[in-house]
Subunit: 271 residues, 2 copies
């Protein structure tokens, strides 16, 4: 039994993979797969700088020409901006082997975008925030898998399973919902940090004094529902404190407006 498992694992890692895209997600995912022993055969990017930088790190070839994309890979991972992907889709599928599996990594795009373009397709969505400057630990990242056939689902689950302990199947509708929720939890949260950093810079105070607060705010929602973890002046709409803060933001009308709306939203959600 265990020998079979080892065999199966080895065969997965032999899957030759092409990465189409060399942005934050592609870079982190390709490097993680490379570290697990997968063969990344080629990296495509519109820009040579991005393509060669990633290719070097995963011992792959690279190209900036869509027509030169390797046609003998088993798996094509497309990690492009949504708009670029839609535009390049016909060129991406052109000339690829019929049994190759093509996946995109976007939370926001339905699987149906592949329909009629190729035979084996799917979605391989690691729900995480990736930056090139920071290596991501994949073990706890939830992967959401969808594919055109049960065999393809199985292959993607096995690949994701080499990286993470949290691999789920999710349809396009669920993925769309997760992606929207993730924008609030991640992108908007990070922007709150950024606005805070902007204020502190103005006041000549260091941002790192906020880190224990940021960490505890994140830790709390492991135990409490976010609604129950809420603190601060907006819960009871403390006019005094909020009025003072709005005054302090009078030279930042954008932030002032946001401060007021978010405070009202907190108040209404805690009523």
């Amino acid at each position: 039994m265990s020998a079979v498992k080892v065999n199966k694992k080895r065969s997965i890692e032999d899957t030759p993979i092409v990465f189409i895209g060399a942005g934050n997600l592609a870079t982190n995912l390709a490097k993680a797969l490379y570290c697990k022993g997968f063969r990344i055969v080629q990296v495509y990017s519109r820009t040579e700088e991005a393509a060669s930088a990633l290719a070097r790190q995963v011992e792959a070839d690279y190209t900036t020409n869509l027509e030169e994309i390797n046609t003998s890979a088993r798996l094509y991972v497309v990690a492009l901006k949504d708009s670029a992907f839609e535009e390049l889709l016909p060129a991406i599928v052109a000339g690829k082997p019929k049994d190759a599996l093509m996946v995109h990594t976007a939370g926001s795009l339905p699987m149906s975008i592949w329909q009629g373009q190729t035979e084996h397709y799917g979605v391989f969505y690691p729900m995480q925030t990736f930056s090139k400057q920071r290596e991501t630990e994949f073990t706890e990242i939830p992967f959401f898998i969808e594919a055109s056939s049960p065999t393809d689902v199985e292959l993607l689950k096995n690949i994701a399973g080499t990286l993470s302990e949290r691999v789920y199947e999710a349809d396009s509708e669920q993925r769309k919902s997760l992606h929207l929720a993730a924008v609030f939890c991640c992108n908007f949260t990070n922007h709150m940090y950024a606005l805070s950093a902007k204020l502190l810079k103005k006041y000549d105070l260091p941002f790192d004094v906020m880190l224990p607060l940021i960490d505890e705010t994140a830790r709390k929602v492991h135990e409490l529902e976010p609604k129950d973890a809420q603190t601060g002046p907006a819960i009871r709409y403390d006019e005094n404190v909020i009025g003072n803060h709005l005054k302090m933001l009078s030279d930042e009308p954008g932030m002032q407006k946001l401060y007021e709306l978010i405070s009202r939203s907190i108040y209404e959600n805690n009523g």
Copy 2:
């Protein structure tokens, strides 16, 4: 030298302390001081339930009557809502010993609120989000200290120093700025989590799938400036994704408005 240090420590922990207020901050701070060996002699709260619950945990007496507040303590820690504090201030100082040190714990209130009311006063502000349901680890919490005399500053610094490695002096103006920045980093961030949780509930998806993303978003800003850590559709104002998300929020006009404003703010800050 080390014997002197021990003596000094013992004498600090002998400081009899009265807590006025039994909310989230008072509860966590009183319990932490109690664990370090401080003597909490009494807890005041408007409600018997809150006063007795905290008093029990720190082996203190309690009262719900301002006139019955212990008059022989060395330190009075006032942790009330700003509006309640301003209202109760005359009754709080009445009849207390001249050499007693009175502090409030609010980021938002200036130290000057004490002026003319009592002789020794200050501010003892632990910048953190506290909930009664969760015990807080104080070691990394930044404490911001301000007091009416250098001796009082010293006493407060020593007390804070038994709990945390990060004790700073900060004037009222700096504290006001820190508090505003903290509202963004903590209260508004938590609200982003809460809105995300609300969406997931509607879609019948579990919130805990967001935790790895929440944790990584917090971890990233230990290494990168928040602005450099930003990801997601708003950086380049991706009309496709944003348009779809706004449509998905059409039955939540408040969230829809927030989504749009925060996305515009991200776009403008990354320009």
